[in-house]
């Protein structure tokens, strides 16, 4: 029984992202939330201590409860329904937290980026691009509007596919796409704990300022095809050539 419908796949194909709220059960969410809280310098019962708390990565992605949100749930299988069965390398997510600022002057993200690009501090080797196929963002806390939500620019994956047919993957400095793409209105992903956003690896995205009460507790996985090294420089006319579930 597949997890994604034809409508889900069509939505992903058109917009470059897909949101589902029913793939994780309470145990998955609770275990991941507990693991994160155990590593935070904040009182779980006192929201005042959540403002500007830390650390941003309170638990490694290798923690069983964190990895389990993708690999022990239907999430990985759903991602494979997009790319093709047995096509993706297994992989768990890592925590990406945005702490409340305590401020109220929220503003939309000023510009998005593509992942995998070198900056002097992010560990990506200079002159390389860390491509992947499916991004997965999982909320393990309720995220309301203006709460630091993961933000996407719908359709930007199609612009990227067009662009890279006649440009080097390295031509976007630091992954910053502001001057490269004609970006539409952004969408801030919100939803209850357990919300899962699948996004195309070349969808422009960003974080945003957290003016809400909750810590934005997101887990983000980047899943690549097993044959990535054989196809990482391919930019076919049909951008879905390597997405057997989408064709």
């Amino acid at each position: 029984m597949p997890y994604l419908s034809a409508e889900d796949k069509q939505s992903f194909k058109e917009n470059g992202y897909l949101i589902r709220h029913d793939l994780l059960n309470h145990e998955h969410i609770q275990a991941a939330s507990d693991a994160i809280w155990a590593g935070l310098d904040a009182d779980r019962t006192d929201p005042a201590t959540w403002i500007g708390a830390g650390p941003r990565v309170p638990v490694p992605g290798s923690h069983a409860a964190i990895r389990g949100t993708v690999m022990d749930s239907p999430v990985f299988a759903a991602a494979e329904e997009l790319v093709g069965k047995d096509r993706l390398n297994p992989g768990g997510p890592g925590p990406h937290l945005v702490f409340p600022t305590g401020e109220h002057d929220w503003a939309p993200a000023s510009g998005g980026h593509l992942d995998g690009y070198y900056t002097p501090t992010n560990g990506v080797p200079e002159g390389t691009v860390g491509l992947f196929h499916v991004g997965v963002t999982i909320y393990v806390e309720d995220i309301e509007p203006r709460g630091g939500g993961f933000t996407v620019w719908p359709g930007s994956h199609r612009q990227a596919a067009n662009y890279f047919r006649d440009h080097s993957f390295l031509s976007i400095n630091g992954g910053s796409s502001r001057d490269v793409f004609d970006l539409p209105e952004q969408v801030e992903v919100t939803g209850p704990a357990g919300t899962v956003c699948f996004w195309h690896g070349q969808t422009v995205h960003s974080g945003s300022k957290n003016c809400a009460r909750n810590i934005r507790m997101a887990l983000i996985a980047r899943l690549a095809r097993k044959d990535l090294n054989d196809i990482r420089f391919e930019t076919p006319d049909d951008m879905w050539t390597y997405w057997e579930g989408i064709q």
Binding site: P125, T128, H167, L170, S171, N229
Partner: protein, 250 residues
């Protein structure tokens, strides 16, 4: 491969290096190759205007340009194996190897099966010791991780791999790695080019010749005896050099 001329028991693969015209972008380099009737070129990941990562060029653009010109890509050099981060000079072999793997997969996407690489330059005795260790370890890891290509390592000025003794020390114990007989840096280190050709003929994967003092006859004899059939890359458009190479190798 284009540019082959079978003669005797040696296959002639004369290749124009982008280093011969470092200011030319890819289209102009291909035009130069056509003009000089080269069937193949050598490109670099870096250091020439025709390098393969120009902003306005995708891999498919490069493939299309090669196909349209009917000039093959016969040789490709990736960034140097330094064992260090270029932006901070910090020793970090895994970081450098990830760069070289990326460069190598780009070469694979262009259809290249022999990947050229050099050691990085060194500025101190301590760095040189680290560079030697990283060169041996790094080559070993690359060979293991990307088994469907052959890595060929060549000399570079001011690097830990320049003299005959450097080759003896560093490469004798590594299996599955080819050698680039690159006359310019070898000559700069006062290496006996004919002797080097004889000593390493069985492992030579690629030859780079310039228009300096090159013992073409002796090199050709050594490589012929070893049944060499790799690319002979010319780093000059000098007609005399081309004629000498074609006469002796062809």
């Amino acid at each position: 491969m284009a540019g082959h001329v079978m003669a005797g028991n040696l296959t002639m693969n004369c290749v124009l290096s982008a280093a011969a015209e470092p200011e030319l972008e890819l289209a102009a380099l291909l035009a130069a190759a056509q003009q000089d009737e080269f069937g193949a070129i050598e490109l670099f990941r870096h250091r020439t205007s025709s390098c393969v990562v120009r902003d306005n060029l995708s891999v498919r653009d490069i493939r299309n340009a090669l196909a349209a010109s009917q000039v093959k890509l016969a040789a490709y050099e990736i960034r140097p194996l330094t064992g260090r981060k270029a932006d901070s000079d910090e020793r970090n072999l895994p970081y450098n190897l990830r760069q070289l793997e990326w460069d190598t997969h780009l070469g694979r996407a262009l259809g290249i099966q022999t990947i050229s690489v050099r050691s990085g330059t060194t500025s101190s005795q301590e760095q040189a010791q680290e560079a030697r260790a990283d060169l041996v370890e790094g080559l070993g890891q690359l060979v293991e991780r990307i088994p469907d290509v052959t890595f060929a390592v060549g000399p570079a000025v001011d690097s830990v791999l320049q003299t005959a003794a450097d080759f003896d020390e560093l490469l004798s114990g590594i299996d599955g790695v080819g050698v680039i007989l690159d006359v310019a840096p070898l000559r700069a280190a006062a290496v006996d080019l004919a002797a080097f050709a004889r000593d390493w003929a069985q492992q030579v994967s690629l030859v780079r010749l310039d228009d300096g003092d090159v013992p073409v006859d002796e090199i050709a004899d050594a490589l012929t005896a070893a049944d060499f059939n790799g690319p002979i890359v010319l780093e000059s458009r000098d007609a005399d050099l081309r004629q000498r190479v074609q006469t002796r190798f062809g």
